[in-house]
């Protein structure tokens, strides 16, 4: 029974001209989207390589220079792009790609792509994630809205009932018939993506395993939509009404809920403005040790401590340059301040995340979106991870430079210049993104929510099918 319904429904779908056109459009759009994204991905990766090499060369060739001038001169950390961003661009467009690493200051990533685009960019891009998240659910609705209502409208329902069908087998057949084409389209898309990615040069951290997880997430998302659409089709009296109802659910889940969630999140757990943030940091800095101010109370205290520790009575007798030592202590203190303030941002964001998760009750789109971005390493957490690594590197760089200053000069010797080969001794900045298993375990709640959606919607559908 299941198999027969499945074959009949699929034949019927395939014979419908509109369905074929809709399929062709979706496949075409996906093709274009993948092609554009692959080109952009390659482009950005090339630029990234050039920028990183040039920047390192600039750093290495500074010549003889005071280590502290070099610290102020600073260097840049560039954010790499990951292969799966081809499937989901996530928030990449809205976060910067380069972080300036300098003395005394933790900078935010600069130059987000969105700031360099017109207002049109806010409508969205033609990328695979747009098709996967918005258009394919719409396709599901168009394929499935009249799955059961048409039997009512054509009068075949009575006929079917007189045959003594078992309702759940019949329903499962219909379900499988709707699932099959969607499954094939997604499978093809992911296979093509995998092939494109493994053929690109320097595809870096691409793994089929991540791609497969991404595929499963999307299949889960589509299963939820299939369940909902068929459930509505079972309940509704007319095809038109079923269609309008399914569409309302789609709008609510994919368009309205995320926007409303973002408004509520901002109103409840706002970020400080950029200027406020800077002012707060400055206030904390003023209250603590300033590496450049030997006259402050904190500096005097530090001086006494160090003198006592080394058992000497004057800073001139210390075995290292106290100026540089104080700068390093100041640097550590400032790093703590930044840590505190950036942590506050993270806290605000994690509160916002909780809110998004609680709203996932009305929208399966939200957990899917977050999971998809996380697996593609294009979510906000991935950005934080990169920026924290860059900050660790900045702190290590400052220590490297200040230590050199302290060891090789004496107190008051501000004119000290380090050798030209010092700079290349600084280890290169390297960033390893988190592994898939780590990503999945941090997003385990989204997985649960998605799982709950699948189970509940499917049982609802099966239970309702008995009452037809």
């Amino acid at each position: 029974m299941i198999r027969k319904t499945f074959i009949k429904e699929n034949k019927e779908l395939w014979r419908d001209g509109r369905v074929r056109i809709a399929f062709a459009i979706v496949v075409l759009l996906l093709g274009v989207a993948i092609w554009i994204s692959a080109r952009q991905y390659q482009n950005i990766n090339e630029q990234y390589q050039i920028a990183e090499n040039t920047e390192r060369a600039i750093w290495d060739n500074q010549g003889e220079k005071s280590p502290h001038s070099a610290a102020h001169y600073g260097t840049y950390a560039f954010k790499p792009k990951y292969p799966l961003s081809l499937v989901d661009q996530g928030v990449d467009k809205y976060v910067g790609t380069s972080i300036f690493l300098e003395a005394h200051k933790r900078n935010e990533a600069q130059f987000s792509a969105a700031a360099d685009q017109t207002g049109l960019a806010r409508f969205g891009d033609l990328t695979p994630d747009f098709i996967l998240l918005f258009i394919i659910p719409l396709l599901i609705i168009l394929l499935g809205y009249n799955s059961f209502t048409k039997e009512r409208e054509m009068g075949t329902l009575t006929l079917l009932k007189s045959q003594g069908i078992s309702p759940w087998k019949w329903a499962l057949g219909k379900w499988a018939a709707l699932f099959f084409p969607i499954f094939i389209v997604s499978l093809l898309l992911f296979l093509i993506t995998g092939m494109v990615l493994s053929n690109l040069k320097d595809f870096g951290v691409f793994s089929w395993q991540s791609l497969f997880s991404l595929f499963l997430v999307y299949i889960g998302y589509y299963i939820i939509f299939i369940n909902i659409v068929l459930f509505i089709s079972l309940k509704a009296k007319k095809s038109g009404i079923a269609l309008v109802l399914s569409l309302s659910i789609w709008i609510l889940a994919c368009l309205a809920a995320p926007k409303a969630a973002s408004n509520i999140a901002e109103a409840k757990h706002p970020y400080p403005t950029r200027q406020e943030f800077a002012a707060n940091v400055l206030k904390d800095k003023k209250n603590g040790l300033d590496g450049h101010n030997p006259w402050s109370k904190e500096s005097k205290m530090l001086e006494q401590e160090v003198l006592a520790e080394h058992g000497v009575d004057s800073i001139h007798k210390l075995p290292f340059n106290f100026d540089a030592y104080r700068m390093q202590k100041g640097e550590e203190h400032e790093a703590e301040i930044y840590f505190k303030h950036y942590n506050y941002l993270k806290e605000q964001y994690s509160k916002q995340t909780n809110l998004y998760q609680s709203l996932a009750v009305v929208s399966p789109y939200l957990p899917t979106r977050f999971l998809s971005m996380a697996i593609a390493k294009t979510d906000y957490t991935a950005h934080w991870d990169f920026s924290d690594t860059a900050e660790d590197y900045r702190i290590a760089t400052q220590k490297f430079l200040n230590d050199n200053f302290a060891q090789n000069s004496s107190y008051g010797e501000w004119s000290y210049q380090a050798d030209a080969d010092l700079w290349s001794k600084l280890p290169k900045f390297s960033y390893e993104p988190p592994e898939l298993s780590a990503i999945l375990s941090t997003n385990v709640s989204s997985l649960w929510i998605l799982g709950a959606w699948i189970t509940i919607s499917f049982s609802l559908f099966l239970i309702t099918s008995k009452t037809i």
Partner: protein, 475 residues
């Protein structure tokens, strides 16, 4: 016939509870979105006024300090932050360059969540390093905001589709089409009248609920001309969707097929066209890489630092006015720094300008092609009304950079003349005043939409007239 139709339609709409349902939906959607918009604007205003208050307080402290210094008292601050030094004033006591919200800012978030609304340019900072983006969670930027323009551009057409997709087809499906065909009125005229009446009622509902919401949420000050512009634009946009529904009702047959066709049109105009245009714009006028710009900037700076002394000499030769009143001719770090800063800035200007020029080109291009989708037209016009469009933020950026230059050169005169900054000079410090863009095209947009809808309606009439010979009931 019209009066009958009018009465019948109203009764039908009331009894099928369409009017009640729509009123509630509209009130909820408009209410929630207007409330969100108002909250954002209020936060913006309070952020700006806090920043101004802070500057006011720090100015008072500065004046006190100056007073003590001028009276020869000892002060307990580090030597480089005493405000007699013009550079200390320029760096530690910057002015707030704020972009105050326009009266209609609540209508559309536009780019307001992406860009900052106040900035404090300092004398030693780089113009191109001024960060105009706001600190926001990128997830919020990705999802966008539930604002009034979202409701009008995205959701209102869907309400219209649900309201109109089965006008003719439901008659067919219920079997009352034969009855209708026997009436002394042509079908297209009947569909047209029915649609226009629905448009009329929906317009009234939309206008009333908008006004009610503005009143209840408490939008202050309410600019009537702009509100009129908003309502006019919304009605023209609605008429466009009614015209599409008219065509679909005439040419497609069953209710479900009508709905599918209309949804396809909605996806095409609201989702696909904008994203395709954006993608095309980026491909045709690609932004040069910012990461490569950083490399360029760094190299220029290295070069400038090496030649600092030479640069300063050249600078003073080119600008004798700066050193003319200075008898001491003493030169310190800042003299060299500011001069080489200027050189770097001038060297980088062409590079920075390529970004602005490219953005400008993208914008001109998208301005031309926006007519492909009424959704873009309306969205852009609402951003204009709200003063939150890309052009507004470009304008603000330009004004801030010009102000930064004024601020710098004002204080540089003190620096190169080696004259200390004093209390009397305080009142002549430059102030920033944002002047909003004025050349709005809201009226034009509304007019064009009106014309397009008119053309669609006439086309429906003419084309259906021709095909009617085949007979309405054959099939």
């Amino acid at each position: 016939m019209l009066p009958y139709n009018f009465k019948y339609e109203l009764r039908l709409l009331l009894r099928s509870r369409w009017i009640q349902l729509l009123s509630i939906l509209l009130l909820v959607l408009f209410g929630f979105s207007t409330y969100n918009g108002k909250e954002k604007v209020e936060k913006r205003i309070s952020d700006i006024s806090n920043a101004k208050q802070e500057v006011k307080e720090s100015d008072e402290a500065m004046l006190k300090l100056l007073d003590s210094v001028e009276r020869g008292l000892e002060v307990s601050v580090s030597s480089w932050s005493i405000p007699t030094s013009p550079m200390a004033v320029g760096n530690n006591h910057p002015r707030v360059a704020a972009m105050e919200p326009q009266p209609m800012a609540f209508v559309s978030t536009g780019q307001a969540d992406l860009f900052t609304h106040y900035i404090k340019p300092t004398v030693s900072g780089d113009d191109f390093a001024l960060n105009f983006t706001e600190m926001t969670s990128p997830v919020q930027l990705l999802f966008g905001s539930f604002d009034l323009s979202f409701v009008i551009v995205y959701l209102l057409p869907l309400l219209i589709i649900a309201f109109t997709y089965n006008i003719l087809s439901s008659e067919k499906e219920q079997g009352s089409l034969r009855l209708l065909a026997s009436q002394p009125i042509s079908i297209r005229k009947w569909v047209f009248q029915k649609l226009i009446l629905r448009f009329f009622w929906l317009s009234i509902l939309v206008t009333l609920s908008l006004l009610l919401v503005f009143f209840v949420v408490g939008i202050q000050p309410l600019e009537w001309v702009s509100v009129l512009g908003l309502v006019g634009l919304t009605l023209c946009y609605m008429l466009f969707w009614f015209a599409l529904a008219f065509l679909v009702n005439l040419f497609v047959d069953s209710s479900a097929k009508n709905a599918v066709s209309l949804i396809m049109l909605w996806v095409l105009f609201v989702l696909l066209t904008p994203s395709v245009l954006n993608q095309l714009g980026n491909t045709l006028y690609p932004m040069p890489s910012r990461t490569l710009m950083i490399n360029e900037m760094r190299e220029q700076k290295v070069e400038a630092t090496k030649r600092q002394d030479e640069i300063l000499d050249n600078f003073l030769r080119d600008h004798p006015e700066y050193a003319i009143n200075d008898s001491t001719q003493s030169r310190n770090f800042y003299h060299r720094y500011m001069a080489s800063q200027k050189v770097v800035k001038e060297a980088l200007e062409p590079i920075v300008n390529t970004y602005e020029a490219q953005l400008q080109r993208q914008q001109t291009w998208s301005k031309k092609l926006q007519w492909l989708s009424p959704a873009i037209v309306v969205h852009e016009s609402m951003n204009q009304l709200a003063g939150t469009s890309t052009a507004d933020y470009e304008n603000y950026r330009g004004q801030v950079i010009a102000f930064a230059e004024t601020w710098r050169s004002h204080l540089m005169t003190f620096l190169y003349n080696n004259t200390p900054f004093s209390q009397q000079e305080y009142s002549s410090l430059p102030q920033f005043e944002y002047s909003p863009t004025t050349n709005g095209t809201v009226g034009l947009s509304a007019l064009v939409l009106l014309v397009i809808s008119g053309v669609l309606l006439v086309f429906g009439f003419v084309a259906q007239g021709k095909s009617q010979k085949r007979g309405l009931l054959s099939n």
